[in-house]
Symmetry: C2
Subunit: 395 residues, 2 copies
């Protein structure tokens, strides 16, 4: 490591510690940050001064707690930077702008049957929403734009390889977005919506390790180790949807047999119960419970999930499972069934209980996650947002 990088490293560490502390509603001072980061007070003071000058950190009014000189509470600056999340879903396009503090500056949703429209149309709409969000937020500098798409995305150039729910194949999404004046000159990245949803969950559970399962039209998932999303060789580690839970079992959309997704996804459950395709995902379980015993429905879903989870826990040796999407509202119902199945199959049980928890259920996790991902570059390299800006040395 070069000594220039030391400064950037410490700036980043301080900003990250500050952001983490301010989500806990504990006011944080320079002295507090010094303890958290194990740097000395003068060092923190000097670095904080630069962050304040660069409008990345805000000072509050002095605040007295107990004896001693009152602290000057610090928070990530509000409204000075804009991180933009976009979401292109089957029935809507949405855009969310947040600042460093994670506060929503602007939010726009337009309903659009994307499958019925052309990709161009959806992308035009998305760009338009970006323009509106930027304007409403007061047109501060934009950090980055991250687009959530329900499909597979080429890691190199942000092409959408396939997005079945949108009827998209080979759409050069990022390139097309960059053609629009509202996004000219910005950094734009595309990511799978499920993977971005996890970021929202990671925010709620900083530093934890868990398996994330999201029930949606398909089954998405992810593996989080110590607060870091596992990627894998192609970026789809933790996609539990196509874990085989019954060799030679039900036919899956992917062409194989016995995948988890062939049993507990919205599509699979709806079709097997003969429900119409106007059934909303959030109403799925209630609708199923009308066609047969609710306990039976929960049992089917729970046992299928449990089997997939058991295998994952065996391989990963983790203890926490977070259920999201349409699985979140029924997490408490599922818990005993899943737990029983997991305990029958998983070795890790011997080490203690497996926790099966519901996602904190914030709305629009993919959209929030996208905006959150757009923020990331500021935290990992605040130096780039300060006047000096050596950050990327010429080579």
């Amino acid at each position: 490591m070069q000594s220039t990088h030391l400064r950037e490293h410490n700036l980043s560490a301080i900003l990250i510690a500050l952001a983490a502390a301010s989500t806990t509603s504990t006011p944080t001072s320079r002295a507090g940050l010094a303890k958290l980061t194990r740097l000395t007070k003068p060092t923190v003071s000097k670095l904080i001064e630069e962050l304040v000058d660069a409008d990345l950190v805000e000072e509050g009014a002095p605040l007295s707690i107990g004896a001693g000189r009152p602290m000057v509470p610090l928070t990530p600056a509000r409204g000075t930077l804009l991180a933009i999340g976009l979401e292109i879903a089957a029935d809507h396009v949405a855009c969310l702008g947040i600042d460093l503090a994670g506060r929503v500056l602007s939010h726009r949703v337009e309903y659009l049957k994307v499958t019925a429209a052309s990709a161009e149309e959806a992308i035009d709409l998305a760009a338009e929403l970006v323009g509106e969000v930027r304007a409403e937020a007061g047109d501060p500098p934009v950090v980055e734009v991250v687009v959530a798409v329900p499909g597979r995305i080429a890691p190199d150039d942000g092409r959408v390889l396939s997005a079945p729910n949108l009827d998209w194949t080979e759409v050069p999404l990022v390139r097309r977005l960059l053609d629009h004046p509202q996004l000219a000159g910005l950094t734009v990245r595309a990511q799978n919506d499920n993977r971005l949803s996890v970021l929202t969950e990671i925010d709620q559970r900083p530093g934890e390790s868990f398996i994330y399962l999201r029930g949606s039209t398909g089954i998405g998932g992810a593996v989080v180790i110590d607060g870091a999303l596992m990627t894998g060789a192609h970026g789809w580690a933790g996609e539990f949807g196509h874990t085989v839970i019954e060799p030679g079992g039900a036919l899956c959309r992917c062409g194989r047999r016995g995948c988890l997704e062939a049993y507990v996804s919205y599509h699979a459950l709806r079709e097997r119960a003969g429900l119409g395709d106007d059934t909303l995902i959030e109403d799925l379980v209630d609708a199923l419970a009308l066609t047969r015993d609710r306990a039976e429905v929960i049992g089917l879903i729970g046992r299928s999930l449990g089997f997939a989870i058991a295998n994952a826990l065996n391989i990963l040796d983790l203890t926490t499972v977070v259920l999201s999407g349409y699985l979140a509202p029924i997490a408490e119902e599922l818990e005993p069934v899943v737990r029983e199945t997991v305990e029958r199959h998983a070795l890790a049980i011997e080490a203690g209980p497996v926790l099966i928890e519901r996602s904190d259920g914030l709305t629009d996790p993919a959209l929030r996650g996208a905006a959150r991902a757009a923020l990331q570059s500021v935290f990992s390299d605040p130096g780039a947002w300060i006047g000096r800006e050596p950050s990327i040395p010429a080579r």
Copy 2:
């Protein structure tokens, strides 16, 4: 990060880069290390000087390659430090001493039916071997002692919780070893033998990501991501032995049904074929081939492995599988069967071929891995081995 740590970080980076480079038999100079670590030549020179003074790095005779001033080749020092690996296996106790360069300084094996003897006896023998190895190596400073045990180990105090193949339960291994004069004052750690075996494989594949499967009395395994061993919540991530491959299938030693280990471990295969318990692990497949068609044996093993591997690949999104233990010699035979099974079940296939490779098959991987693990602290904190030694600041 504090500025004192910068030096340690860079010392460590240089030593690690040097060690990595010298395994590739490419002679490396100060200038070469400067390029590898992205530090400048003067910085590398100064740090290397300290490492040479501390006997951690050796200079060779100047070596001319092409034009320009000849380089001074550098290598990790040989014979100046001793890292000790111990192995306690069912039928022997072994001790290996290596230096920074990974060269074997001394090696001792004593055959002992550990199950027939007391734990005390085995531990006494181990300590004795350590004494002999230290003496033969010329009694240089000992870095650390790492003990490989085929069982589960308490992470905090190195107690062996259970080691079925040794008939051990609750043996305070590390504490007892420290009682012996040969190990007085040393740092001693215990680790599962399979997990240490992986370290030997990681050495051969620096920076790679792969799944490791080791056929032995049981089935051990591990997950390696970018050259780092995944641990999990309790340190047994990647223990594929108890992945369920057939719900409600064959009864396993662990009390559950359908585990991988109940099909392809030495014990399971031997017993199902009615072979005597004097069959050696390395002869297992040949012996099985006498009782029935060899293709059938390979097919059984391959399909079972393939199913477990497919699930793991789906979850982890990796592309390489390394077979070790008794599986290594038959890796080429297994490959088509495993590949076919994996391709039928694994999603990741769509991204390209899955590589099923054999371990490089060094003898005694667990013992080597233990010695290698004992070396680790030098590489991660060379500062502690240099006169200055601030390393662990008082708190």
